[in-house]
Amino acid sequence: MMQKASPTRMNLLILKARVGSVRKGLDLLRSKREALVREFFSTMDTVITSRDFLRRMMDGAMNSLSIALGLDGRAVVQSAAFATHRDIPFELAEKNIWGVKFPEIRYPSVIRSADARGYAVPSVSGYANTAARDFERVLDQILKIISVEMRLKKIGEEIKKTTRRINALTEIIVPDLQVQIRTIRFALEEREREEIFRMKRFKEKHAAY
């Protein structure tokens, strides 16, 4: 709750000015929310499309893996998988847009040629090779998706925060300031009426002498 201001003309002017600046702030916050919502929906479309693509890629990769497991045997695929291990030098950086920080991922291409996978190409069947290539594509798609999904989450959080601020201003701050303005105005009017009454009494008394 706001502190009560003493009923003076100066305070009335200050409070009126404060209501004015709060309303301007509200307009700014509403425009910010509008821009964020627009961005949110365009990002949402990208998320849905990328997810759909990832699911299809995952289906394809699992098919390739099933074929490799069925035709080459688990032991062969597992031994190929041991040889393919590598470190992926990716970097998670922060990007700042309208004061909202988004994580952004930077990474080199993760799709390798068969001879760069670490195993002896003649010893591994084409099926295992295809499965490895398909999973590398899945990994590439995953790395692409992360930034977009994190962006969607962050924009959502920012919309929530902005809505909370707008609600606080419209539901609490502005009504409270208006009540204070009304109270001061009533007090000043009351003081004015008392003054007029006092002057009349004074005039009457003065006329009687």
Binding site: F40, M58, M62, T84, H85, R86, L92, A132, G156
Partner: protein
């Protein structure tokens, strides 16, 4: 160096191993819980790939922790176990939106 780890069922984990990523096996929710607990203590792990259907079955508190975690970042993906009953991308996005803005919305495409 920052690492990527996949925590998935045996077959999917093998697939990710083929792509060169470190993959750990988690066939049950309990196993996944245990692996996630370990991953939170491994400071060089920055990205964790998990099964989106298994994440949904985790205790609410842990699910929220995963969603809000930035170190490591968790990315739920669709896997083979739910081949037929896979979550549609629209559903996944709708859930993500409900968590982000607090409203349930219906996406029509």
């Amino acid at each position: 160096m920052d690492r990527i780890v996949a925590v998935l069922d045996e077959d999917t984990a093998l697939g990710f191993r083929l792509s060169g990523v470190e993959a750990r096996k988690a066939d049950t929710v309990e196993e996944l819980q245990e692996r996630i607990g370990q991953l939170f203590n491994e400071k060089d792990v920055r990205l964790v790939i998990v099964d989106e259907e298994m994440v949904r079955r985790l205790p609410e508190k842990l699910e929220r922790r995963i969603e809000h975690s930035t170190a490591p970042l968790f990315l739920p993906i669709p896997t083979v176990k739910m081949w037929r009953g896979a979550i549609r991308p629209e559903e996944y996005a709708a859930r993500l939106i409900r968590r982000a803005i607090g409203y349930q919305i219906k996406i029509r495409r």
